[in-house]
């Protein structure tokens, strides 16, 4: 099981799922129509490191974070 958390304005509670790579996470998240507005603009971190490929492997207990567009300052 891994945990997926949705940061900032996404406002969706964290969820747990079975996943071997981020492909599995993407597939699962797309089932939620409210996520359509975030799919194409979120960055993704695994265990707080930003990643660049859906092939990123996941292990038991990993934390995946979705980071929507930012505006600090």
């Amino acid at each position: 099981m891994i945990t997926v958390e949705f940061l900032g304005p996404i406002g969706k509670p964290a969820m747990t799922m079975e996943a071997n790579t981020l492909h599995d996470v993407a597939r699962e998240i797309k089932k939620d129509p409210s996520m359509a507005q975030w799919i194409d603009n979120c960055a993704v971190a695994v265990n707080d490191m930003l990643v660049g490929s859906l092939d990123t492997p996941l292990s038991e207990g990993d934390k995946v974070s979705l980071l929507p567009p930012v505006c600090g300052g």
Binding site: L7, G8, P9, L22, H23, V25, A26, I29, K30, I39, D40, N41, C42, A43, V44, A45, D48, M49, L50, V51, G52, S53, L54, S65, L66, L67, P68, P69, V70, C71, G72, G73
Partner: protein, 148 residues
Amino acid sequence: MLELHDGALNVPEILTRWYSDESAYNYGAYIPFVGTVRDEDGIDGLSFDVYEPILLSWFETWCLKVAPLGAKLKMAHSRGDVLNHESSYIAAVFSPKRRVALETIEQFVEDFKASAPIWKYDLKEGERIYARERSTAIAGAGLLGENK
């Protein structure tokens, strides 16, 4: 050093403390950038969410990047509500030389705006509204949509 504060920043306290903390280290230039909430578009203020783990690693990467130039970075940011004319953000560079300081503060502040995991909301008529149109997707975003 990175510090997060609940609510508005105490700008005089922070600017003075940082200056004092570094006064013995022979830096020739100190440039703080202070960001203050503007009264515009009928807002009462702004509110911020901060994701600290990634903010910290982003900040530490920057510190390592400028260390070979002899420069040091500091940053303070607000969490939660900051009203109009209060300040929510201070970034500062210390460096032996002016050119390094001027170039570093510009690059640091611009990358901060583009990359730091902080989300901004307008406070307007009692609501907290995500500033979507002023926000920037982090470099590499959109990953999850790639295998449509």
